[in-house]
Structures are given as structure tokens and as C-alpha cells.
Symmetry: C2
Subunit: 541 residues, 2 copies
């Protein structure tokens, strides 16, 4: 028998609507039509105009056959189309796959094929690598050129340009929210621990919730001026295109991450908020110090994964930065964990503040559970700040799973939790702190590098008999890959030759900066003892 609180009280079209960040765009355009949505190189585009262009983009894609569950792959820097595509693709029901612009053609070709791209949009400045990827791929997506006046006249490539595409759409065209909030909105490839990258699938519900989660975590009030220092291909810019629409802010676009340009944007555009790896903070702070300048206002910076050291926090604070430390992975829409600040901590000495801020923290308010478990027993580790376990999560801002990879999906969600693969301790106050990464990921300049992928390339070199790659601390990049290599007997090879070999077979940022020839430490069963190498790497200058 139906309960009295349910009888006749089911969901209806009037009281149940799919959660989708597309609603934020529509509302921003309706309520704040004249406010700047996007600024780029002196041009400004209002929310009304942005909405209209997204509607036309969606209509044009639809006319070209793009619809529910199709894939639109995009290779471009943080230019205005990247913001528009964050909405326009989903308006057709299709899935946006923003690609890492630093990847090599082979990796991009893999993604075009694996994601079964129907459309491939390539920035004019990335046409060489994009066309190379197209040539290697079996998929034959519609190729669209993203022109940028900043680069001067483009050599023509692709079936048509982005502007030509948008012009094909009708500004009054109808569009609709997804039929189901569990529908896919985005595909983001992540470096796996094994050979091929995995395609992380986001749903509309999670994108909606984490967009609000960012606002709540950051105490974001209306109309922030947000500078795009974080790549939009990182977890859809950590969901910030959607967050900024929800608070009717302004997206300040940037082609590259250059300290001088960032500082000029902060000072000239009234920037209030930005995200990025600690390297960005360090870079901009150093540049401002060199010029003897200030930011001109408090600029809030959200960083992730590793917090800046005390000295950087202090220096950057002096010129106007206020840093929020978050944590997340591609699988959780970017950050879903924040080192939530207690107001009273601001009275502590800066070293203590830095130590508190170095912790990854607690769940976003829209996420449910963050815990550190013994991965064998799935029991929580004691909250003693010492016992190491694996960071696990459960909640609403976690991926649907990996595209066409049931084995990896089941493994990631085994036992009712998402397994991050990161090792951490739980402090007595419930804040987690990462101590190591069990998946052998090296983070260089904010980009994840799989040590196993690099090792795979090293093993292909005829002189190499065994190899292990670990992270080496780097003042500029945070970490760089350091390769320990055991050579075959009687074969000679130089460090430069190994590095050159890697460069030919890997994206530049994945190439080891250091190669050490030695006998690798192994267990009795022959397994390489990476923890020994991690100790040894600290002694390298």
C-alpha cells in the first residue's frame, strides 16, 4: 500500500527537473543579461550574448547530426570558445571531451578513437598536433578550426571554422535540459597507472552540485572576476565555467600561463579569483616581487593537491593572495575536498598556518563522505595523523565510471567507496593529509604523469634492462619525473640519449628530467622497491 506521504505525491514535470549546470547559464542570461560573461584581449561578451551564442552553437551542432550521447572532442587553450563549449555541447545532449593540450598526437588519437569523437575542434595554434592526431586516429570526426585573432591569420584547416559553425545555428532554437540528470555531460581522460588513459564520465547532477560546491567552499559571492589560469581541460576547469555562471561572474580568458600576462590581467581586469597549481602562485608572486608591485586587491587563489610552503604563502599573502587549498581527482570533478579554514587559525604563526593549510581537509558541503581506510580491511584508520591508509570517498560528486572500461570502473568503486589511490593520514580533527600516491602519479606543473607510462617507454629502449620512475622535488614544477635505470650488461648509453628517446615517445612534460644509472633495489621476489628510490631521490641535487 502506498504510504500517505507518497500517495498521489510523485514527481511531476512541475516539481522535478533534472539538475544540470545548463540552468545556471540560462539564469545568468535572464537575470544579468548585460554583465560581462567573458573578457578576452580587450573584448567583452555579455551573459545574454554568451547564452545566445551557446544556443546557436547547440543548434548548429544538432543540424550537423550531433545529439544525445555523441562526443565532441576539443583541443584548445583557455579561450572564449572553451567557455561556450562547456554549455553549448551539453545543450545538444552530447558529451564534451576537453583534451589536454600538452599531450602528444598518439595520445590524442587514442582519445579520439576511444571516445568515438563525432566532432573534433582544434585551436589554430594547435593545428599541427591536432591534424597529426586526426591522421593517426581511425575515427573520422568533423574537424572544426577554432580561430584566434591573437595568433594572426590562420592557415585554413578543417571542414569549417567555429564561427562559421555558430553562424549556422538559430538564436531562437529550442534546447532542453537532459532527460535524466544522470546523463553524461563530459568525458575527461586521466593518466592511468597502466598503458592507456581512462575516460572519466561526468553526469549533469554531479556537475550541477560541484558547481555549487565550489561556490560554498570558496565563500563565493555574486559577480567574481575569475581569471582562467587553470586549464579548462582539467576536469572541465574544476567545474568553474558552471560555478561562474551560477554566480553571474566574469570569465577572463588567457591563452597561456605567463606570469607577466597573469599579473597584467589581475591588475587590469579587476580579477578577484583564480585557480591553479602552486606553481602559478609562485610564478606570479615572483614576478610581482621582481617589479615591486602589489595585486591591487585581495585575489583568492584556489590550489589543489599540494599546498604551497609557508614561505610562498607568506610572500604571496604580502602582495595580496589569499590561498584556499583543495583536493580532488579527475574522477571527482576536480576538487571535492577543501581544507576548510577555521577563522581562529588566522591568528597562528605563519608556519603553523602553512602546516594546517597543507592538509587536504574535509568534504565539500555537496559531497558526502571522505575517509581514510585500510584498503585490505576497508576499516577506517585511527585518526592519529600517523597511520596511513587510502583516501576513499562516497557521494554525489563522483564520476559515473570509466568509459568502456568495466574492469577499471568496478575496481575504482569496489566495496562501496571510490578508491582514490592516494595514501593519507586522518588527523584527530577529521582533516586528511596526503602522504603518498599509491598509483605512482607524478604531478609536474599541475599535470599528472603516470610513472608506469614513462617506465613503459624506458623498457622499450634496447639498452634498458629495468627501470623505475619516481617524483623528484622541483622548485619550479613541484615535481619532475626522475628515472632510475638498470642497463643490460655490456651496453653503454648516456643520460641525454635516454631523455631524447623518451621525448620522442612521450609528451614533453612526461619526459624524465633526470636519469640515474644504477642497480635497482628489489625485494626477494624481484619487485622493485620504489620506496627506496623515493628516499634516494631526496639526496640528489
Amino acid at each position: 500500500m502506498t504510504h500517505r506521504y507518497d500517495a498521489g505525491l510523485g514527481k511531476r514535470e512541475s516539481n522535478y527537473v533534472a539538475l544540470s549546470p545548463l540552468s545556471f547559464l540560462r539564469r545568468a542570461a535572464e537575470v544579468f543579461p548585460d554583465r560581462a560573461a567573458i573578457r578576452y584581449r580587450g573584448d567583452e561578451q555579455s551573459w545574454a550574448a554568451t547564452y545566445e551564442r551557446c544556443v546557436r552553437l547547440a543548434d548548429a551542432l544538432r543540424k550537423r547530426g550531433v545529439g544525445h550521447g555523441d562526443t565532441v572532442a576539443v583541443l584548445c587553450p583557455n579561450t572564449p570558445p572553451a567557455v561556450e563549449l562547456s554549455f553549448g555541447v551539453a545543450m545538444t545532449g552530447a558529451v564534451l571531451n576537453m583534451m589536454n593540450t600538452r599531450l602528444d598526437p598518439a595520445a590524442l588519437a587514442f582519445m579520439l578513437d576511444h571516445g568515438e569523437a563525432d566532432v573534433f575542434m582544434v585551436d589554430q595554434g594547435l593545428s599541427a598536433v591536432g591534424l597529426d592526431a586526426m591522421g593517426r586516429a581511425e575515427a573520422a570526426p568533423l574537424l572544426i578550426a577554432l580561430e584566434d585573432e591573437a595568433l594572426g591569420p590562420a592557415e585554413s584547416f578543417g571542414a569549417l571554422t567555429y564561427e562559421e559553425l555558430v553562424a549556422e545555428g538559430d538564436q531562437g532554437a529550442a534546447w532542453s535540459l537532459p532527460g535524466d540528470e544522470w546523463d553524461a555531460i563530459a568525458l575527461n581522460y586521466t593518466s592511468g597507472t597502466t598503458g592507456n588513459p581512462k575516460g572519466v564520465v561526468y553526469h549533469h547532477r554531479g556537475a550541477y552540485l560541484n558547481a555549487l560546491g565550489n561556490a560554498m567552499a570558496w565563500d563565493l559571492t555574486h559577480h567574481p572576476v575569475y581569471l582562467w589560469t587553470l586549464p579548462l581541460f582539467h576536469c572541465n576547469g574544476w567545474c568553474f565555467p558552471w560555478t561562474i555562471a551560477a554566480v553571474a561572474g566574469t570569465n577572463v580568458c588567457l591563452r597561456g600561463v605567463d606570469a607577466s600576462e597573469i599579473l597584467a590581467a589581475i591588475q587590469g581586469e579587476g580579477v578577484t579569483h583564480m585557480c591553479g597549481a602552486p606553481i602559478v602562485l609562485n610564478m606570479v608572486t615572483t614576478e610581482a616581487e621582481r617589479r615591486g608591485e602589489q595585486l591591487g586587491r585581495t585575489v583568492r587563489l584556489m590550489t589543489a593537491g599540494a599546498a604551497p610552503p609557508a614561505a610562498v604563502l607568506e610572500r604571496s599573502g604580502r602582495i595580496g593572495f589569499d590561498v584556499t587549498h583543495t583536493y580532488g581527482l579527475t574522477e571527482c570533478y576536480g576538487p571535492n575536498t577543501v581544507c576548510a579554514w577555521h577563522p581562529e587559525w588566522s591568528d597562528l604563526p605563519v608556519e603553523e598556518q602553512a602546516a594546517l593549510k597543507a592538509r587536504q581537509g574535509v568534504s565539500y558541503v555537496v559531497q558526502e563522505e571522505l575517509t581514510v581506510l585500510d584498503p585490505e580491511t576497508m576499516e577506517p584508520v585511527p585518526p592519529d595523523g600517523e597511520t596511513i591508509g587510502e583516501v576513499m570517498m562516497r557521494g554525489n560528486v563522483l564520476m559515473k565510471g570509466y568509459l568502456k572500461n568495466p574492469t577499471a570502473t568496478e575496481a575504482a568503486f569496489e566495496g562501496g567507496y571510490f578508491h582514490t589511490g592516494d595514501l593519507a593520514v586522518m588527523h584527530p580533527d577529521g582533516y586528511i593529509e596526503i602522504r603518498d600516491r599509491s598509483k605512482d602519479i607524478i604531478i609536474s606543473g599541475g599535470e599528472n604523469i603516470s610513472s608506469i607510462e614513462v617506465e613503459g617507454v624506458l623498457y622499450r629502449h634496447p639498452a634498458v634492462s629495468a627501470a623505475a620512475v619516481v617524483a623528484k622535488h622541483d622548485d619550479h614544477w613541484g615535481e619532475t619525473p626522475c628515472a632510475f635505470v638498470e642497463l643490460r650488461e655490456g651496453v653503454g648509453v648516456t643520460e641525454a640519449e635516454i631523455i631524447e628517446f623518451c621525448r620522442e615517445n612521450l609528451a614533453g612534460f612526461k619526459t624524465p628530467k633526470t636519469v640515474v644509472f644504477c642497480e635497482l633495489p628489489k625485494t626477494s621476489t624481484g619487485k622493485i622497491q620504489k620506496f627506496v628510490l623515493r628516499e634516494r631521490v631526496k639526496e640528489l641535487v
Copy 2:
């Protein structure tokens, strides 16, 4: 065939959790355990302690047989238990019915019966009316006394006290989120246009979303100090118990709405935010002016329905108030519409600001669609600021429907929209402005009064042949009911006698303050022309 973006990518316990505001309480207790959750008469209770008491409360209720879909009715002012009950009841899966403390025993008895209350909690100061209601009701709920030291020793009533109940629970007891986010969390009775009040049923999803919606609409950052001037029985305090937990703020409780007490709380407790009818703003401003005092900081006040006039905005602004105007109904969890402020409006003359702020505005960011339709054709009215239509809504912060009232539920949701019954215009900028209330509701001191209910009582007086009740402007209450009465031939009765008769049969605030004896204006078919009376009432002193 399952699509590749769905195959093996369904919901799991790890990536799909029911949206419920209970998560906010748990998080506040985990992340900010020592911060003040509740302050009352000099006592302070932390979030950790509040969470622990809610867990015990839920466990105790469960041991007493309360569970999924049961009803817990509560009659109490804005004391600490009202905040705790906003969480503790839902933790058992039961539904909280906060009752209007100004209602008469007959109305309360109707609610106990209609809601099938399993538990009835009554504040010590309201025991007379509560026990009277119990006596009239057929339901036999477990009666629990809410004691309050502020009132001195209580005469014992009920099966046990609230504190005794809480003591029965185990602080380590398990509880769980609802099995379905569509499960009911609260029941709120609203004055209907016809005889009996209607029971509005809220679901967890809507409560969660509107709690965040409040934060987004109000630019609420972490740790506000929130003063409870808005009754918690109004749409669960407009969802603010849940909002304040989401931002780990402090609830400052108050038994009554007294200008002097409110001013003392603002000045003494560091209050930053409060909600209430415009009457509260006026009252506190007048008191502060009388004393020649300021609030001591900017205090943000959210008001609903009718914005304060320019003079009040200016006077209240001078002492420190900053007013946000919202709009909503019981059916939409309190406010789900806000007069979203454009920063540039702050530069306009105060009269223009007041005129802009008097508009009810636009959808909350968590709500989807707000529109003004011709109720006959269901077509939007032109956005000309002149053409009147009915305010209609569609989105995620709308009730499940009316409890055990399918006819009213279907009527309210007819045609795919929730019909508010309020008449409004749509301005060219997409902001709505209420022009009239089609449901004949009079709002007096923030309380809704159904003119039809009052007319029903008048018709029962032997001397009355016809009656019509309309709102009369009142400087203090906003509006009061004014009765126009046509007497039977040859019968004499005085205004005082009619008022006394109403007082015996209605809650005090519903009793007409003015009675006019006259022949009622009628259409050719005999229908009373209320619009004529609304004009006539303006001429009354």
C-alpha cells in the same frame, strides 16, 4: 542497446547518495565541532553537541516506535528544540510538522488528526492551547512537554519531557539518510481558500536544494550569526535551520518577537543575518531610533512578500540594516524567488531603489522557472510591467503536493506548473512584481489569513446575511482583515459584537479589526465584487 555512456555506468552506493539537509548537520559537526550552533539566553551549544543531541533524539523517537513516514507535530516558539527537531525527526525517517503557535485549538486539532500525528511536542508556554487541541483531536499522539527555564518551573504535562526523551537515546546510535531523496521531510499547513488548511509536504531533495539556494541568494559566507526572528513554523523557518548548518553558522534563538529583545540580541550576540516580515524591520528600526542607537554592524535582513517602503528602507539602512527582498509560498519551501540586486542599482536615488526592491524578482539559482501566465491560456503575459497574469513556477523547490488532498494537488500543478494564486506583472527585465492575490489572502504581521475562512465565521452569525473580508492597510501589521457586512432585515448588531463573535471562533490575528455595515456591491449574477470593496477600504481612516 545501452548507450556507451550508460553501459555499466549506473548509480551505485558510492556515487549516488540521497540529497538531504541532514548531511549538512553531520558535516558541520565533523568540520566545526566546537563552533556555536545554538545560543539561547546566555547558553551556547556547539555543533558537535547539537549533532549528538539530534542523534539521541532520533534514537529515542525510534525506540518509541517513530519511523519512516510517521508524523511528529511540534508547537513551540523559536527555542533550541525547534532547531534540533529540524534534524532529529528526519533522522528517523519521520516527518516534522511545525505548527503555527498563533492558531486556535480547533485548527491545531484538525492538523493533529489530518496529519495523523504520532507524537505531539508542546512548549510549556503553550500547554493550555496544546492540551485543548489534544482534547479536541481524535488522534492520540504521544504528548511531550518542551520545558523552558525562561518560563520558570512548569506545571507537569504530557507523558514525558523533551529532555527526558533525549536522555532515552544513545549518542552512538546509527541513523541513515532517507532511502529516497523524494521522501517526505516536513509537513506545513497553509491557510487554504476553502475551509480546512492544506498540508504541504516537503521532500528531502527540495529541502537540501533550497537550503543551498538561500545561501546563494543571500551571498551567505561561512559562520553567519543568524537571529531567529522568523518563526520556525513558517515553512521550516524558510529552510534556514538547514542553511545555517550548511555554512556552520550560529542560530540565536528567541522566544518572542520583541523589538527591545531583538535589538539587544543584535548588539550583544554579533548577529549578522535575520529574516522576517517587514513589520520586524520597522519595529526594530523604530526602537533603535528611539534609543538613538545603531546596530553596530551591517545586519542583513531577508524579508518576503512585500518589500518595505522607501522611507523604512532609508531609516533602517541608516542604523545598519541591508534588506534583501524575496518571495515564496509555503508550497515552495519559503522563498524561492529573490529580487536579485544589480550592483549598479545602489547608485540610484533611494526612491528608485525602493521601487526596484519592491519587486519580487527572479528564481533562486536552485529553482528553474518563474513566469507569469494567463491562467486561462497558459500563455506568458507580455513583459510590459502592466499586463497582469498568475505567477507560476516549475522546478526542484516545490512541494510533493498536499497531504491526502489529490484534488487540491492536481489543481495546484495543473498544466505542468505550480499555480501560486498570486497575480503579478512581468517587467521588461524579467523581474516579476505581485499586484494582487487571487486567493484572497490577507497578510497580517507576516501571517496569512484566508478571507474566506473569516467570511465563513461571519456567515454563521445570525444577524449576517452576506459578508466579504478584504485587506485593510495598517501601518503596524501591514494589513488587517476588514469585514463588510450586510445584515438581515430588521436585525441590529454592533461592530463590537461582530468582532467579539469572530474572536470566539477564530485565532486572534484573524479577527477583523474593522467592520463596515453596508449593502454589498454585487454582479448581475449576485457575486460579490471584492474589487469594489478593495477600493472602498482605501477611503476608510
